[in-house]
Amino acid sequence: MIEATSATPSRSASRPAVAQGRLTWSGVALATHAVLLYLFLYLPIVILVVFSFTRDQFGVRWTGFTFEWYVRLVNNERLMGASLNTLAVAFVSTIVSTVLGTLLALAMERYRFRGRSGMDALLYLPIVIPEIVMAVALLAFSALAFDLIRLITGESLRRSLTTVIIAHIAFSISFVVVVVRTSLKNFDRRLEEAAADLGADGWRIFWRITFPLILPGIIGGALLAFTLSLDDFIISLFLSGPGTSLLPVEVYSKVRRAVTPEINAISTLMLLLSITLVVLSQSVQRRR
């Protein structure tokens, strides 16, 4: 995603322009295809937003404008509680996974050591295995761990927000590592050498040179971790306990029954949050 936005104007000059006579037909076809595909991508989202303001109680038809569903949403304690839980989980897991991921990225980029390639594989694995496999593995693990804890200490634990946070950190770390490593790779190490030549010690070099330069990468990684946690449904479904509800799980259990305008409204708000986050992450990375 990061490299995708790096525009190189010099190279684009050599690209054949669509307007060049012989390319017109394929150019028109490509443009039409693109327009249709963007419509395909956005029409459902637009419809969702529009129908969060409809008076229709089934939320599938336009019968006039109303804010009623948003008002109901705010008064729906269950959904509000679930939203707060989701935000809390996302905050905690983002902070922990960003710190751990940044440390790992520094170790993997800056050191050569035995077992490095094995650790590399372990870091990529959470990205490439399907979420449901990770979800059932963590469910089995937590059940077994709770049994052991009961045997040893006599204390009986249950799945809760804590188990969800632990799981979210486990899958977010890898994504943070990937993003931070990219910014470490693009980093001019001569800056650090220059600082060392000028007499700065390691700690000072890190905080005054390295950290500020990789900060956009760290923030980018943190925003990705935050989004992943907010959006995660599968792991949350398997790992949240009976008493603790998370927003995507609530939405899922409602949506399975029917479309409601209230869900349209909460979906619209989630959409707004996602757009804010992607704008933030893009502007952070543009600053590099």
Binding site: A7, L41, V133, I173, I275
Partner: protein
């Protein structure tokens, strides 16, 4: 001598620093990622008790069932089939789009790419749900049809709706790596191919496609992985009429009474092994050029 000890001291410090950087994250991943995988690997060769408890008795019966009972075999085949189909459709739709974006002037390119990024960052569940509004029996399409005096169509809760939802959901994951690959591609090579007498289709097949293959492979992996394990789309849009492997795993762990964790674990293991094989293949195909 003094220099020697200084060097040793420095090396010792570097080792400590490395340990401090690695230990917390690795510990977390080993404890909360690798160990859980080992546990379901062990569960997958254990026996399921009558109350859904784990009986610690070795068996290969779970794997035997997976490969012999048609319910499970069909679920695997169905999952692989719909994943292949989704990946192919995303590729066919995504490649021309990525090509279009790359050929725009830089300012437009940023905007167009941003429009692909938004769905990429948007909650999957929400985006799938949006299609329910459109496809439902009293939904947008059917109420429009009714308004025109035409008969209603049964759109929701079909396998077609599942495929549609999967393509819709995964398309951004295909477009982004394709864009990155096409952005690196030197388009003057196409002109060179034309100068040497190659027709445009031939230049595409022999020059552009091979050179953007890492992007195609990355996109395919990114689309294939979530699709093979999905159960949400087939429940919300497909109406859970047919079972994909994800639906079976979810049911065996969460909904069945009694649950069957050993069988569910075996299913997850087989799914993971199939995927890892594919991904190794992918890494092999890209090592020469890209890494």
């Amino acid at each position: 001598m003094a220099l020697n000890t200084l060097e040793q001291e420095q090396r010792r410090r570097a080792r400590w620093r490395l340990a401090a950087l690695l230990t917390p994250g690795m510990l977390w991943l080993v404890l909360f990622f690798a160990l859980p995988l080992v546990i379901i690997l062990i569960y997958s060769v254990m026996t399921n008790g009558p109350r859904g408890n784990i009986v610690w008795r070795f068996t290969v019966g779970n794997y035997y069932d997976l490969f012999t009972r048609s319910v499970y075999v069909n679920a695997y085949l169905r999952s692989i089939w719909i994943s292949v189909l989704t990946t192919l459709i995303c590729l066919l739709l995504g490649y021309p789009l990525a090509l279009f974006i790359v050929r725009q002037p830089p300012r437009w390119r940023t905007v167009l790419l941003f429009l692909v990024l938004i769905p990429f960052w948007t909650n999957f569940l929400v985006r799938i749900y949006a299609w329910q509004i459109i496809l439902a029996n009293n939904g947008l399409i059917n109420s429009t049809l009714a308004g025109l005096g035409l008969p209603r169509l049964n759109l929701l809760n079909t396998e077609g709706a599942t495929l549609l939802g999967l393509v819709y959901g995964e398309l951004p994951f295909m477009v982004l790596p394709l864009y990155a690959a096409l952005d690196r591609f030197d388009f003057t090579l196409m002109e060179a191919a034309a100068d040497l007498g190659a027709s445009r289709p031939r230049a595409f097949w022999r020059v552009m496609l091979p050179m953007t293959m890492p992007g195609v492979a990355a996109g395919a992996v990114l689309v294939f992985i979530p699709t093979i394990g999905q159960f949400v789309v087939s429940e919300l849009l497909g109406g859970a009429k047919v079972d994909y492997i994800g639906n079976l795993i979810q049911r065996l762990f969460l909904r069945s009474n009694p649950p069957n964790w050993p069988l569910g674990s075996a299913m997850a293991m087989v799914m993971m092994l199939v995927l890892l094989a594919l991904i190794l293949l992918y890494f092999r195909s890209t090592t020469e050029e890209d890494r």
